[in-house]
Symmetry: D2
Subunit: 468 residues, 4 copies
């Protein structure tokens, strides 16, 4: 799937990072966020605790490497820092909604950043407003800050726990106070969060790939419902302050979102995606001359498909490295170049061939349709589209903001109808069972130990009024 299309879909995808106990805390957070950049490219933010105990914060529109120049990082001294990358819309509002958010409270200063989505955010917000709170942003994170500030707990750690206990939904959260850095994962463990060490320093991140870049050692996942308090003096506490719930990590992290050079939820992402491709090949084999990927997201699955089917893998589509956030299509009659600005077919590979094109998923179907058109124009004799996940029929309410249900082509069209729309000769999806097998899900009574609501509509956490 193309991140171009994604851009309009995922509004709440995010990544978080935190480090405590290193004198280069903000620098390392900058690098960690760079390694998590695939989780959100629209804004980035870093908060640090300076040596006098004051929280400093910087939030910038754009890529981490664009906004965080050396001058900016120098305004963030201290041994502890947290950071965040996110999607957001343009304009001033986007900077207003960027994270970490900052709040001065009766417990002192606090900075918060999270990845996920609260299903009772609207309810809590209304309630807080009734009680006299004011909101300056439309983020879930500000709700959390208010709950902390209003807590009757005796200290900020207690207040944070009390606040989090009221949340429903998915969150992997990092928090910075003058006393500690905290990292918490919701009881369902929907979004990933891992911890490790860089020398003596404690590090946490959405994905291990951030550790790899800075040379940190991976310790383990933070467990669903677990909270780590890393004090400034180096001491740590591990808490399990919430009622236990059945964990349901997000299967779509393994399908698309996480970086392939990574383990997520104890699964090797690259190998899992290859396995999806292999099973897909078993389930929907077709005679063809070659297998190509929609780069880069379809790459591992297409290699698995090729391996299993014995059909040759080739680079049939080349991706441009020069499509930035700012690419402006020319005006007038020659608009709408769309996917052509990003992908180009390798004609010599495709010409006269029966081609299997593998991608990770289909959302609206529009990009997919353009790609098949491109492959046909390059001379393909047949185009067989293979999707390494089941039909995406339901939106996500836990942090991957797929479009409304009405815009998901598979919510209202049969596979045959989709095939016609995208103009493929054949179209096949990986079955739900195949996906579950690839991710090594444990299935009990038809329920797996992953959240796969986007494919099944079975939402493990009630989604209230937002349910379509």
């Amino acid at each position: 799937m193309l991140s171009e299309e994604r851009k309009h879909l995922i509004e709440e995808a995010c990544g978080v990072f935190g480090i405590s106990g290193n004198s280069e805390a903000a620098n390392l957070t900058y690098l960690g966020l760079h390694a998590l950049q695939h989780r959100g490219q629209e804004s980035a933010g870093i908060a640090s605790l300076d040596h006098s105990g004051v929280l400093r914060i910087q939030r910038k529109i754009g890529l981490v490497s664009e906004g965080f120049t050396e001058e900016v990082i120098e305004t963030l001294p201290g041994n502890v820092a947290i950071g965040h990358v996110r999607y957001s819309t343009t304009g001033e509002s986007s900077i207003r909604n960027a994270q970490p958010i900052y709040a001065s409270t009766k417990f002192g200063q606090i900075a918060l950043a999270h990845n996920g989505n609260l299903t009772n955010a609207e309810f809590l917000r209304k309630k807080l407003e009734q009680e006299g709170s004011i909101f300056g942003t439309s983020t879930d994170t500000e709700v959390i800050a208010h709950l902390v500030a209003r807590s009757r707990a005796k200290d900020i750690q207690g207040a944070l726990i009390e606040a989090l206990a009221q949340l429903e939904g998915a969150y992997s959260l990092v928090c910075l106070t003058k006393d500690f850095m905290a990292a918490v994962r919701d009881p369902r463990g929907v979004r990933p969060l891992v911890c490790g060490r860089l020398g003596e320093a404690r590090v946490v991140a959405s994905e291990q790939t951030a550790f790899q870049l800075i040379g940190a050692r991976f310790d383990r996942e933070i467990a669903p419902g677990e909270m780590l308090i890393a004090h400034k003096d180096g001491s740590e506490k591990w808490l399990k302050p919430f009622n236990a719930q059945r964990p349901t990590p997000c299967i779509f992290e393994l399908v698309y979102f996480a970086r392939p050079d990574n383990e997520v939820f104890g699964r090797n992402v690259y190998e899992t995606r290859k396995q999806m491709g292999r099973i897909l090949a078993q389930q929907s084999g077709v005679e063809a001359d070659l297998v190509i990927a929609v780069p880069d997201s379809g790459m591992p699955a297409s290699l698995g498909y090729a391996e299993e089917s014995g059909i040759r893998f080739e680079i049939g589509l080349v991706r441009s490295h020069y499509i930035g956030r700012t690419f402006i299509e020319p005006s007038n009659s020659i608009r709408h170049f769309g996917v052509k600005l990003k992908l180009a077919p390798v004609n010599s590979v495709i010409r006269g061939k029966r081609v299997i094109v593998v991608d990770d998923s289909i959302v609206r179907g529009t990009t997919c349709r353009k790609i098949i058109k491109m492959v046909r124009e390059a001379g393909a004799k047949e185009v067989h589209f293979r999707v390494a996940s089941p039909p995406t029929t339901h939106p996500c309410f836990y942090g991957i903001d797929t479009p409304e249900r009405s815009q998901l082509i598979a919510s209202s069209h049969s596979t045959e109808e989709i095939r016609k729309y995208i103009t493929a000769d054949t179209l096949a999806y990986l079955s739900l069972d195949g996906l579950r097998q690839a991710v090594r899900a444990e299935v009990t009574d038809g329920e797996s130990n992953f959240c796969d609501a986007c494919f099944t509509g079975r939402y493990p956490i009630p989604v209230g009024s937002r349910q379509t």
Copy 2:
């Protein structure tokens, strides 16, 4: 006095503007703020109420004309708008502290901007934090927003009144809600606030000069303690919701801060400053060849001085129009050009002459010393410095943020000591009586009906812990 020096002194000087009932509301606010730009050059902000009842807001670093391009103004549709200009420090914090501030509350959305300083802001903030409020900025204005949000009043008008009733200090405030624009002046009336009409539309501003630019008609000052509610439907309410207090408008607005092409507190600014110069000439005449002004602030007083003394007025110092916010002094050995980059002496006027130099006030004395050095190097035979206000001995806590008392040269030095420091042949200040006479103050038992605490230390409103 040079605004260059001011820059480091006045951190809370501001200007406000509001308009209700004109389809060009944001455009006119832009123009109004341009006319108030002398009240604050570091950031500017405009909030408007769009046609669907949603508050829009834009805040920018720099001059109004720099940040508010046509594209930005186009994001602010609607018939009602408020705006603000302010000083602030650099960095992200400055944008965070820019106004108007925005808050979503149980009463709906609200935007607030004010000019002034609350003397119980710290107390209220602590109290609000204890009650569970969070603060994202260090502005007084956020305190007001919280008080509104926490009010038990039945509607937002009641809540606003309830909130303001808790404030101590000086404020001239504009407020925008989905139902009305409000404009309020504190019961002491420390900062100016005027109202008028542009056609049918209601306009309010810190100074009439904003009306003059847009062609609006001046109606009258908003009285101390008075509140105007201008509803979207054109209806208006005038309220006096607070306990009456003895008004004490800021005398320094007349001495320096307000624009001369203006009336403030019923006084003509230009004529009042000329009168200060005339009385100064009566009080401290000296034989000399000519009178020159420190441009532009000393201009009216120097004309008055010349008129009264019969000594010829000349342009002895020329001001550069090209010193912007960004002027960077070159490095290395040739630093510290300071005042020379801004002012240049007209040698031919000064050479061989006995020169009277008139300025509005002396704060630290450093700029004054440099100017005298410059005048001497231009060949003056004698330099007689005349200050059109009394010695500035005390800081302002009501919105003109003069430096700490320890940095005010007159707080710890006699006039003779100051004369030596600034290297003048003679130095004289306008007497307190002379100043009061010039502004036509009514004096009862030694107390005038202006706040002149910066010259007397008699603070009409308690200043709590900030008192030096």
Copy 3:
């Protein structure tokens, strides 16, 4: 006259600066150009000769202080530097036409910058193109570079002389080669050029005001037709390489262009302008209550007028300091604020009064008309406009690019017609004799020793095809 209007008129106004023998050469050039900023605000450039004998050059759109940050200046090391400020149009072309220009020639590298206008530039350019030269800009300066490069002289000094000998028109030029800095003034001496010393270092500039800022000592004017060669080793040569011609310095420098804190052509600018005002008062006295100036250009003359007439001088118009290059008028119905954004009347001064308004000149008459409208709206009973120079009837072809003749109101309208157009009660210009007397011109057979072609149409240098 307002520089706002000027902006559209003067396309070739410029200032030059040069320094040889100071290790802070580029820094000091930056400061010198800042002091000459009134001569051109659209682009600025500095060239320096680094320690390895390589010419470095930087040219930037905008004010010197905007484009020349510390980082930029650091790219210009060396003991010798020249600089230039100029007006130019927007877009890429403007940077292309910015000066100094750079050329690599058979004599080595050369950088050139000049103030003035060549009347045979078009002829020379055509000739050079016929001989195979290419032009990358539309500046006169590139013509000079080509003439140098094509010279058969034995060295670059000879080549420069040979090139300059072919020029007709006005120029004050600075030139940098790997061996020396040169400064030359055309044989007519139309544009100013002065030299001085900063310690041991040689400095040259369009106006002395640049020396004053950096603390340099003024030595003398560079004489018409004189050339200074300042070698890197500190040795100097003064040459008179051209056929002598009757000098005709530009009288308009004294009327408007030069800074008042200055001597130009041996005349004190401020005092000369006051004298224009005095004579104007003698020639066209009128009963009135007060004299006001159009700031800042009309200030000295209005003081002279007041002094001579005995009528009180007042500040009747206040100039905004916040009109930068970027001020964008709002769209829609409220456009065309024009002069109101820049000037504001002091109503209290003007109301009910018979007002004499003094400016230095009238070009198109449009700004003047707006100012009188403004003064009338402020309540003036009568408005008497007084112009401290004769009617501007002819364009300048020597470096002050007044508009085409057809746009000069005085070229086709009588004074009475102009009075009606600008809506003044009375209008009077300074007579030509009065102007000549004020500048202490020597007049022989009706010809003065100044160029006053803009007032008389008597062009001392043939202007070829450009003559209207």
Copy 4:
């Protein structure tokens, strides 16, 4: 090979595009340059001929999509346009050296842009300077402009031919005059240049990939020494104005530089690279568990290697999409992340495996060494490095600016020494014969019909003083 390293190596790599006869000429040039962006990312330029016959030009630092906003493109009207992308160094000089260059000559205006390098540029430049020409840039292109301008030919077409006849070296040039667009390839045909049609319009480009994006039809290569004159009226001339020479197209275009979705010199780039990989596998087989590529440049060869060897291909290194031109490494102790910011290993793929890593070439060896370190740290048991071209022993003087010979590791080290330096278990290069076979070169007496001087030191065109 990583483009990161390239950045410092290739200073003259470029791409050109031209179109005549389409009303969207500048828009289409923008798109064409986007498709050629891999040939140069530091600056871009477009020149168009507007409807009044005036040449317009815009040159910008950075990617095409960054500098050429809609506003900029709108300043380039007309039916004919040429464009250029190039590498260059930072600072003002880079914009000065950007192309197309513009010149006003006796033949009228001309714009020129080329890809390549002239080996007698220095000689011609000296000669032209001796004859009185001036140079404002250090580009070869300016030399060509001077030769055109000095020509005695009767028209600009003749002048262009006369100028080009004096050149030695490699160039693929586009030229715009008020009468025609020209496209010329040097007699050796070192750099690629192709022509096609978009409807009626004539298009030319460095690579066909530019045609594919805009939907143009590929006609054929412009032959070595061939010149196309496309007149404004749609008529065309094909000329062969130069003495024929043995063509020697650049073999490195096929090895690395050209885009894989393309044909260059009649060879399919992707398939040719795969073939290099296949032959490499035949020549230097080794027992291993998997084959991985250095993305993206090593991808096709690694697929060929895997295919031939029967060893499984895997994605072992993932490339970040978020390394832009502006990535700034953090300061202090954690510098020098280098290749880690760009590439990340897929540990699960590599761990415990014997890995063959395939890249297209080795230049300095430093990046290669870092990659092997990364692969080892990811747990590889053995690392076998395979290079799909022979040792790069000599610099290119024809437009791909590899570093000086002394910096090419293979110029002074044996393969075994290089293996030790890069810490590979084994290292093998493709043989020269193998490379020639892969590109289907015709070899006569040891000389092939490609320029392979970078691998052999046999320079088909004398390189004069630049030869190391």
